[in-house]
Amino acid sequence: MAADLKYEISQNAYIKLVLHALKHNTTAVNGILLGRVNPQNENVVEIIDSVHLFHSNLALLPPLEIALIMIEEHYGSQGLGIVGYFHANERFDDVELGIVAKNISDHICRYFPQAAVLLLDNKKLEAVPKGKCQSPVMQGLT
């Protein structure tokens, strides 16, 4: 395990993901995190942008493949790579990473071993309008 990896997520990336999850509040949603390793400090991964992917049929391969190809092309030209995966579960109290999410994130980890996996904590999301400052649940990957 790498020692003490830190992740910094930009506001833009974070907001895009949360808004997408809020818009499709009746289904599971997922997204890809883009960024790079901090050139000054190897132990910090900067998540600079995000692309939200699907809000239905997350488990099908063809749309995912095309999306990943295009994302890599587009952000590769900007110097960013895929650094992680975001997932929000369908059910309110489901805080586990499901099979599909695990598979996709394992796959991303193969290409970028320091990949981050963000799972939206629905209970914290519910508390957001009440003024509390919350963050999505983070899980590191082995």
Binding site: N57, P62, P63, E73, H74, V100
Partner: protein, 300 residues
């Protein structure tokens, strides 16, 4: 399942009502007919009609349907007090009604009292064992509690009786896919294609599942179904066009070591690629470069 024209009409009405242009009742009727899930809007506009005595009396006997619609929307938005009030009104008007009994069961569900809701539904089912809505509520209760295998079992039993319920087959297919049980999901889509062969959505979903399953035979069948989707939609379905490109490159990869002659594939692939490029030029010309490089990486 909603067609594109119906969806545009619905969105247009929604915009109109949102911007104060009236037409709330037509919007609510359309939502009810199309069975879409727009609970926040339904709640807002339904309540505005119900709380205004003049508008309410203008509805006549439709008033009770609106109460039911708003009650369900309120439960979806977790406004349980609103739901309770609506149900109370309905109960006063129709004291022995099974429909109101169903709403009461749904309210228990919304509160999370699963055992009591299950009891309510079972007793309703005793009187009427062929009530489709209640069977489906029990499936959604299992799903909501996280008991996916229970949901699958109940849904299978339901489909043994009500084989023609397309939405139920779709739901089952999606559940199977989310558990990565793609063979079973493929079976569901096969049933759907058999009963409604002209609906392109099922062909597309079936092709996606076959591609996910993988293997040369499945990839070739997937390509055929992407082609049939394109046929049924007059070439406008972007996902199917992409699907063809993915299939041809996957088939080429799988059959690299073998001597299979796939003479028709380069034509199909280039046709699909050209169609995609034309589409992108029209609708998203700034992304055209992205598309060409993506397609190039697929050709290898």
């Amino acid at each position: 399942m909603v067609s594109k024209t119906q969806e545009t009409q619905l969105n247009r009405l929604e915009n109109q009502v949102d911007n104060g242009g009236g037409g709330a009742w037509e919007y609510l009727c359309l939502v009810r007919m199309l069975k879409v899930r727009r609970s926040e809007k339904v709640l807002k506009y339904g309540l505005s009609i119900l709380n205004d005595p003049k508008k309410r009396s203008a509805l006549g006997p439709e008033e009770w349907t609106l109460y039911e619609q708003v009650a369900i929307a309120a439960m979806d938005c977790q406004c349980l007090d609103v739901a309770k009030d609506c149900i109370k009104v309905l109960q006063k008007k129709f004291p022995e009604s099974k429909r109101v009994g169903r709403l009461n069961g749904m309210l228990l569900e919304a509160k999370g009292s699963w055992a009591e809701a299950e009891k309510a539904y079972s007793s309703l089912l005793e009187d009427n064992p062929l009530d489709q809505v209640i069977h489906k509520r029990r499936v959604s209760m299992s799903k909501a509690q996280g008991n996916i295998s229970g949901a699958i079992e109940l849904l299978n039993k339901y489909l043994e009786i009500f084989m023609a319920d397309h939405e139920a087959w779709r739901e089952l297919a999606e559940i199977y896919a989310s558990l990565q049980m793609y063979k079973q999901a493929a079976f569901c889509y096969e049933e759907l294609i058999l009963s409604q062969p002209t609906v392109p959505l099922y062909h597309l979903a079936y092709a996606d599942v076959l591609y996910t399953l993988g293997g040369l035979e499945n990839l070739q069948t997937a390509k055929k179904y992407y082609a049939s989707t394109i046929d049924l939609t007059g070439g406008k379905n972007t996902r199917a066009l992409f699907g063809i490109c993915l299939c041809t490159s996957a088939i080429a990869q799988v059959s690299k070591g073998r001597n299979k002659e796939d003479k028709e594939s380069p034509e199909l692939h280039s046709l699909a690629a050209t169609a995609l490029e034309k589409d992108y030029k029209q609708r998203a010309s700034d992304k055209l470069g992205l598309l060409t490089s993506a397609l190039r990486s697929l050709k290898t």
